[in-house]
Amino acid sequence: MQRVGVFVCWCGSNIAGTVDVQAVSEALKNEPGVVFSTNYQYMCSQAGQDMIKNAVKEHRLTGIVVCSCSPRMHEATFRKTAAAAGINPYMVEIANIREQCSWVHKDMLTGTEKAIILGKAAVAKVNLNTPLIPGESPVTKRALVIGGGIAGIQTALDIADAGFPVDIVEKQPTIGGKMAQLDKTFPTLDCAACILTPKMVDVAQNENIRIFSYSEVTEVKGFVGNFDVTIKKKARFVNEDICTGCGACVEKCPMKKVPNEFNLGMDNRHAIYIPFAQAVPKVATIDPNACNMLKNGKCGLCARVCAAGAIDYKQKDQFIEEKYGAIVVATGFNPISMEKFDEYAYSQSKDVITSLEFERLTNAAGPSAGKLIRPSDGKHPHTIVFVQCVGSRCESCAEKGKEYCSKICCMYTAKHAMLTRDKYPDTEVYVFYIDVRTPGKNFDEFYRRAVEEYGVKYVKGMVGKIVPEGDKLKVQASDLIANRQLHIDADLVVLAAAIEPDKSARPLATMLTASMDTNDFFTEAHPKLRPVESPTAGVFLSGACQGPKDIPETVSQAGAAAAKVIGLLAKDKLMGNPCVAQSDELMCNGCSTCANVCPYGAISYEDKEFRMPDRTTKIRRVAAVNPAVCQGCGACTVACPSGAMDLKGFANSQIMAEVDAICK
C-alpha cells in the first residue's frame, strides 16, 4: 500500500473561488492510502513545494497527489519536487481541478463535488503507480546517409561540418543523383552542374565523410543511437583506391553499345565506364552484364591499358558492418514509367520524350551536346508541345499514375519552354496545363516570364491524344478557356512525367521499420511539427523520399535533417521516456498484432524458453518492446488480446482504477 499525500492548491482564488479546497482536502483524507492531506494557497510556489518536501519526510510519503492546475502546466514542476524530496518523480499524479473544474463550473457545490471525484481518481491511480526510471542508452557518434543525391550530399556536408563522421551509401557508381542529370535549375537558371559539382568535390574532400558508392544497405538492426548496419559494396571490378579515373580503359573498351543510363538510354556507353566527367568518386566501373571478360573470359583490354593496375576481374561483393547513431534516408525519386500512357504515344514515337530526357537533350554534356534535336531524325523541331501532369493527380488509374501532385513539373516545364524559346526563337512552344502551380519564391514571376517575355503558349486543358503521322505528331487537345478542341502538328512532345519514390525505398523502410504512406513516401513523425523525422526514432528524412520537392526545398530539408542528426549525436546518452509499453512474456502469445499497430517499429519478437510447471521446457515466440524506440502511445495495449502488453504510467489497472473512482 502506498502512503499518499494529498495537496490541494487554491491557486489564489482561481480554484478556491469555485471549489471549497478545505472540503476537498478533508474528503480525500479518507481515501485508501492517504495518510496526509492539506491545502495551500499556491502549491507551485517555493513555499508550496517545500510543504510537499517536508510532508514527504514527515509522513514517509511514497505517493503524491496534487489537486491543482492542468498537469500540462505543472506536472514537471511537481515531479521535480518529488525527486528533490527523494521519491520517484513518477509517483506524482495531478488532479486537474482548475482548467477542468473551477474554471468551467460556476457554483461552489458542483465544483467542490467534482474536484473531490477528480482527486479520488488521482488517488486511486497513484496507489497503483510504480517508480519508473527512464532508460539510458549510449549514442554512436556516426551518421549514415542513404542516397547520394543533392539531399544526401547536403545532409552529409552539414553533419560533417559539425564534426561528426558521416557515411554516404549510394547505389550508383557516383554520387550526384538526379540533379547531376539536370541542365539548368529554376528559377535562377544557373546550371545544375555548376552548383552541384563543387558540393560533390567538397564531399569527396571532407575528412569526416566516407562515400560508399555502388553500394546498398542490406540490413539494419538496433535502434536510435545504436544502429548496426550492413552495407553491401557491389563488385565494380576496379580497385577504387588506385584507380585514377584517367579514362584510358574506357577509351579502349571494345564493348561500346551499352545503353547509357545516365543519358536515359539516348546514347551508348562502354562496358567499363565513368558515368560522367565530374563523377565522385571518379573511378571506373565494369558493367558485368556487358563486359566480355567477365561474361566469357575473352578480352582483358582494360587491364592491359590501365597504368595503375586497378582492374580486378576477380573482385567480389564486399559486406561492411558499421555502427551508427542516426540514419538519414535520402533515397530520392524517379519519373514514373510512361509505357502505360498509350494516349501520348510514348512507346510508339521516339519524339515523345519525358522531361528528364529533355534535360539530357538540352544539356551540353548530353547525347546531342546540348543541341535540341528530334531523337528520331536529329532534325530541329519547330513545334514543341509540353504536357503537364502526366500521371500526376491521376486518381482513377492507380496502376498508371499517382494521385498526388508531383509539385516540380510546373516549374521545370516553364523552364524548358522558356529555355527553348530563348535558344530557338523560331520554335512554337505550347504548354498544356490543368493548373499552373508556382508556390515558391520567384516562381510565379518565372512562369509569367515564360509567357510574357518568351511567348510560350500556355493552354488550359489537357492533351487527349497524340498520334504519330509521317514525321509529325498529331496532338489533339482541349482549350478550356476558348472552349474548343485544338489540333496541333508537333515535331516534339515532352511529357512532364509524375515522380515516384525510388523503388529501393520500400525494402529500406521495412529494414528501418520506418513507416510509409500508400505511395511509398516516408511518413514524418508529425506532418507539421516534425517534418524531417521519421516516427522511428533515430531515422531522419531528407529530400524527395518524403514527398515531391524541388532543389531549394530539398536542400533546406537536408539541412534541417542534418541539424536534427547533430542534435542527436551531440548527446552522450539518450534518456528515454519511461512511460513506455511493456510486454509480460508469460502472457504474450507472440501473435504480432501489437507489432502491426506500432507506429515506431519498437516491437520485436524472440523465441524464449519457458519452464513449465511439469518441469518441461517450452519455446515460445514472445514480444519485446525496445524502450528506447517506444514513444508510449499505447496502441499496442489495445491490440493485444491477452492483455500481456501494458503501458507504464498508464497501465490498464491504473486507468480502470480511475474509471472506478469516477463512477463510484
Binding site: R448, V451, E452, I481, A482
Partner: protein, 129 residues
C-alpha cells in the same frame, strides 16, 4: 484556326495592352455587368486577340455590348486592361467601311424623354467614328 498576326499587332498597338500578361483567372468576366449580353466575354477577348483570332470578335455584337465601365480594368490583377482590348477591336470594326454601328439617322428613334442627352452623345461617339 485563324491567326491574324497583323490585326493582333494592330490591336496591341492601338490598345497598348499586352495580352500575354493575362493569367486567365477570369476576374474580368467575373465582374463584367454586361456578361449575360455578350457572346464573347472579356477574358475571351484577351485570349482570342492573343491567339490572333480577331474575325469572330469583329463579327460579334459583343463589341457593342461592352459598356466601357472599366470594371475589368479596375479589377484585373495583372493590369491587362481588357476593356481597352474590346475598345480596340471595336475601333477596328468601326474603321472598316460602312461598319458603323449607328448613324445619325438612327438617333431619333432612340430618343425618349427619360434618355439623357449625354448618353446619346457618348453612344454616338462610341459606335461611330
Amino acid at each position: 484556326m485563324e491567326n491574324n498576326q497583323y490585326l493582333r499587332e494592330e490591336i496591341i498597338r492601338m490598345s497598348g495592352v499586352n495580352p500575354t500578361k493575362c493569367m486567365k483567372c477570369g476576374k474580368c468576366s467575373g465582374t463584367c455587368p454586361a456578361y449575360d449580353e455578350m457572346e464573347y466575354h472579356p477574358h475571351q477577348f484577351v485570349s482570342m486577340v492573343d491567339n490572333g483570332e480577331i474575325e469572330p470578335l469583329l463579327n460579334s455584337t459583343s463589341i457593342y455590348k461592352c459598356l466601357s465601365c472599366f470594371a475589368c480594368i479596375e479589377r484585373c490583377p495583372r493590369g491587362v486592361e481588357p476593356a481597352k482590348v474590346v475598345e480596340a477591336v471595336r475601333l477596328i470594326a468601326i474603321r472598316r467601311q460602312g461598319a458603323n454601328r449607328m448613324t445619325a439617322n438612327d438617333i431619333p428613334a432612340m430618343v425618349d424623354e427619360d434618355t439623357p442627352q449625354q448618353l446619346l452623345v457618348s453612344a454616338f461617339r462610341k459606335y461611330t467614328k
